[in-house]
Amino acid sequence: MFGCTFDDQDDEERALESCKQSFMFEPRHSDFVFPSLPLGIDSKSFVSQHFGKDAKNMQFRKGTTTLAFVYEPATENDKGGIIIAVDSRASSGEYISSKSVMKILDIGDRMVATMAGGAADCQFWTRTVAKYCTLYELREKSQITVSAASKYFANVLYGYRGKGLSVGSMVAGYDKRGPQIFKVDSDGDRCQLRVCSVGSGSLNAYGILDNHYKPKMTDDEARKLGLRAIMHATFRDSGSGGVCNLCHITPTEKIRLPPFDVSKLYYEFAEELGKDIVYTPRDD
């Protein structure tokens, strides 16, 4: 800061001006670039060589089952909306590096993004999208649509295509067009779905969802379906586990439910079926 004066007033005004310049109008591209490897070395293969499957020490955190679905209220007492349910495991290779990850990340008041694939990638880029959405709402004085937010997300990811990012996210929220879910991934793909699951345990979750999903459900039914699908996915997929975090976005609010332990959920499920959960040796 050369030629710095003690005129605080002036400084503040100038700061405000520059703030307006950069945020109150159409955002410009920032000139930030990620530091990269020396010329001729591909970052994707470099990173997978040192931090990938065969790496001994430093592997990135990965692995997930996430799901979300839209439903309509069955009775007048129900709210309807979107249920988002996720597990909470992060594994580095074969090692479970965390069993308490929050995989539902906030984007504004009524929108969330789920986290599947590389944990750091999701966290970082969701934050970028959240910033974009906040600035958009300040600038345009109206709420951003889920569609627009997810499209921005997809565009950002498409810009880094082939660089080795790993993101499989569902942007879900309620806007003027109603409840919406967009699946966005690091290949740059973006599609709108009503029932959606992403991650290593997604096939198991789909199995339950497709079987039991109805367009019209009570709130209780819908939440139970989300829990059940996650529970079954964690039961059969080694990349998923821990607790089930659930988020319910209704037309008026976003409700985050307390975490459910999946093994307890399994006991409840087994009790419902009348199934014996204890191994019993043959009686001979």
Partner: protein, 260 residues
């Protein structure tokens, strides 16, 4: 040679052979492009990282945070570089950074954080809080997404409310605030132990659970490292213990470990 593909011939050679050949050539070019000279292949094998072994661990309590690491630096899992290396770095009165991994990156990361903290102090005339520093570290790790720091970081300290805080990271800045964390070679040994003793994951709901006092946390930490040193070859020499308690200056201690 001019291309002479004019539809599928009835009685000739395999009509698809040209397509097969093209596909094979494409695949070969992708796998081994002509421009990939031996010099380029050599460069792509470039490995700027090494791993100096050792382990670090941190526990957050109600009004304290406690960190520990061993002090051995190892080359290639076998050779001992030094017996009193610094794996933990006190950044200010309430923030401590503990890292394992490539020591060059550890030092670089520490310098980056220190300079940012210094600037913050200059700009805002107060020390940065641990929550802010945690986010800062996360983003700094992610900025190197395409050339990551080879580090397993743990950041701990006392937050603005006087509570202990521990943040755990992966090499590219996946951040999580948790009660206890470890990184390094003995992480898979220490974490299950702490899961049992602090997380009480094996206890039934009715069983009595001892509260996590500073004394208990310190003892658990020491025992974790003593046990790790018994079975993990890159952990040993000394335990470096850092205790940050709300409203008190940071205390450092060194305790002996086996040296073989």
């Amino acid at each position: 040679m001019a291309c002479s593909f004019t539809g599928i011939a009835k009685n000739g050679p395999n009509p698809y052979s040209e397509m097969f050949a093209f596909k094979a050539a494409m695949k070969a070019a992708e796998a081994e492009p002509v421009w990939r000279t031996s010099r380029i292949i050599e460069r792509q094998r470039w490995n700027p990282y090494s791993f100096e072994g050792g382990s670090t661990c941190a526990i957050a309590g109600e009004n304290f945070a406690i960190l520990a690491s061993d002090t051995r630096l190892t080359q290639n899992d076998i050779n001992i570089l030094t017996r009193d290396g610094e794996k933990m770095h006190i950044l200010n009165d309430s923030i401590v950074l503990a890292t394992t991994g490539f020591y060059g990156d550890v030092l670089q990361l520490k310098k980056v954080l220190q300079s940012r903290l210094h600037k913050y102090r200059f700009d805002y005339r107060s020390d940065m809080s641990v929550d802010l520093c945690a986010e800062l570290l996360s983003r700094n790790l992610y900025y190197r997404r395409f050339f990551p720091y080879y580090t397993g970081a743990v950041l701990a300290g006392i937050d603005e409310h006087g509570k202990g805080a521990v943040f755990s990271y992966d090499p590219i800045g996946c951040i999580e605030r948790i009660a206890y964390s470890a990184s390094g070679n003995a992480e898979p040994m220490i974490i299950p132990f702490l899961d049992c003793q602090i997380g009480h994951v094996t206890l039934s709901d009715e069983a009595e659970k001892p509260p996590l006092t500073l004394e208990r946390a310190t003892s658990l930490m020491k025992d974790a490292f003593r046990s790790a040193a018994e079975r993990e070859i890159t952990t040993g020499d000394k335990i470096h213990l850092i205790i940050a308690e709300a409203g008190k200056p940071i205390v450092q201690k060194f305790l002996p470990l086996r040296e073989d």
